[in-house]
Amino acid sequence: MNLATDRKIQWCPGCGNFGIYNALKSVLEKEIEEGSIKKENIVLVSGIGCYGYITNYYHLNSFHTIHGRVPPLLTGIKLANPSLIPIGFVGDGDAFAEGMSHTIHIARRNSNTKLILHNNSVYGLTTGQFTPTSPKGFKSRSTPYGNPENPINPITLMLVSQATFVARGFSGDIKHLQYIFEEMMKHKGFAFVEVLQPCVTFNNTYQYYKERVYKLEDTDYKPNDFNVALQKSLEWGEKIPTGIFFKNELPTYEDLVLKEKNLFYERNIPDLKDIVNEFV
């Protein structure tokens, strides 16, 4: 099983997107091979950004959509056919600038979908402007004298938005990333994974992260307490935690909304007689 397509991958050599691509690729290949998921049921959705071309490189169903609108597409796909497994890719600009609202709303709905954040803290594709996750003071093409805004913390934000699976990985640690993606695939409900992704061209954080990241799994941290997770999420500086911050199973949006309906398979059309009679 090789999910790669024949398209030439066009990210800059060394780009953090490769790590994300490869980690997910091997996890999906394994799961398909083992038969735990059917290849045709996976649906990849990406927005616009460097990372967005990722859907060109997997031989899997995909929807390379517009900038910022990945979350509602994911939910729409899942509602239409609950057998499908929608996995979204978003950039930090995509997720927290153009698409901020959707990212929060899909979380609080606990839509049974997965969202992978390629967080390079920069707009890669538009060649290097600051994003909502860029540090204050960050010099970028649109802030040559420094970013005046306070960055958001994706993990904290997703926690208070009630995502039921919240994790962070580092694209420089593919093994750990695979572990996180495996857990993500297992989760029922909305799963959010932030990946710290160096952009070698516009924001090369490789060394920075390498020196700071540690794994929650290497500590006695337990990802089952919201308040603890919330506090943990605020840790950012000399040490940067990666791993699973929080995990919880709750009814999904699709369960609550569909109530056992299967819109894809149940195509019978009501004859409307009853309902029409009520209008007489």
Binding site: H59, N61, F63, H64, R69, L73, A80, H102, E266
Partner: protein, 545 residues
Amino acid sequence: MDFSIFIGGQAGEGIKRGSMLIGKVFNRYGYHVFIMNDYGSIIRGGTDYSEIRVSTKEIHTSFNRFDYMFAFHMDVFEKYKDKAKENCFTLTLNDFPYDEVIKKADAEPFMKPSIVLGVLTFMLGIPQNFVEDVIEDDLGKNAPKNIELFRIGFEYAREKNFNNIHLIKGEKTPKPLLYGNDAIGLGAVRSGMKVYAAYPITPSSTLLEFLAKNADRLGIIALQLEDEIAAINLALGSAYAGVPSMVGTSGAGLDLMGETISLAGAVELPIVILDVQRVGPSTGAPTYTEQSDLNLALNIGHGEFPRIVLAPGDIEEAFELTAKAFQFALWYQTPVIVLSDKHISESARTTDIPFSNNYPLMIKTYDKDFDGPYHRYKITIDGISPFAPPGTPDVIVHVNSTEHTEEGYSSSLPETLVKMKEKRLLKMKTIEEDFKLMKFINVFNEGDVAVVSFGSPKGAILEAIEGFPIKFIQVVSLEPFPKEAVLEEIAHVKKIISVEQNSFGQFADLFERKIGRNIDKRVLKYDGRPFSPWELRSIFEEVLK
């Protein structure tokens, strides 16, 4: 027999609900009914009214002159009293202590219309128990209290010796008395819609409510999202997964959907977009009617892609065209916009709706043997590629908002751009040719003056031309424009009058540029209130002179 009843009051006084109850009584009593609701964009303190028009013959719109006026407040009466016909019966707060009665009966203000129904029942000589049965039927657990109020009204009218006639039971068999939005919803469901996504906005919200309430029995879901952009993207996700989907909104919300409409056109996915027009620009007058989004519907979304724009002229067409919109969206795999307006969507009418019609959804399905390996954007002779939803074994569906190869991979090579643009142009050509066969116009009456219009003015025009040598051509499909059909119809016509509800004459402009012939007289109305038949009639009379 054709009379109009006015009930006016503030929001919270059950004007809308009450007019529906009264309408139901007349419907079951064998009459045609049309209900128009005039209300402000505030929850209380406004001066709302409904007109319930009742007739032995088929009626198409509200009349806007009244035979009976009931007003729970003096300001609403003062505002509209000049619309009373000469012998209009009036019963206002000055004549009758509505509030006291409600208080005494320990009832709620929104039940006031039942008092009115009592007065009307006496004055028209309708059997009391017939009406009480309707109330019983319609109001469920609220029925007893309303019947009490109904009787108070009835008794009061008797005591006061109000004029009374004996309205005999009409011959019409009762028909569904439907709001336009209900009809749209039913049309969508009838043709297979499974997902409706929206963000509340007047005058489209009642459709969301109707569908949400009936979702389970209709086998659909009807969802409110965080905004219009989420709504249309969710719907597009469902469409991609192979489930017919629709969004509904009004002008401001349509604006926000532009980027995704362009997306749908580019990725070639079916989606039906309902725009229930209201008075713009911007927030404008949200509860009043206008037809000013035509240019927008024809041009929304950057870049170039195929689209279809349909405009129903009444509630019956609202059902049918919505159903057809799904057929077109699926077959042509492109966005279809349905242009309704407040006067269609929030008015109710006893309507013959072809509920039993089938609107089979056809989509060009993928056939491995014939098509070879699956390519989402396969070049074909009609510009339409085979469709397969994700989940299909052995098929990979790459959908792509960037320009793409037939397989759906990103490419901006000049030859890819040209190829895919020409594919979509070809699809447009296919749509145009197909639409020529369908002749999307309705023609009424004959004459050497022609009235041309689209959408909700239809009702007033139909009544206004009665007995005049005027031909009425209603254009139903705005894009593609039924050029050939219109040309044929106007070949021998000497004068053309356009009628539309906006200040620019958007339809007249479209007509002129598509048909190449000038409109002789443009009738424009832009005060937010629907055309009255008599108003139009006198304009037509003038032209005929």
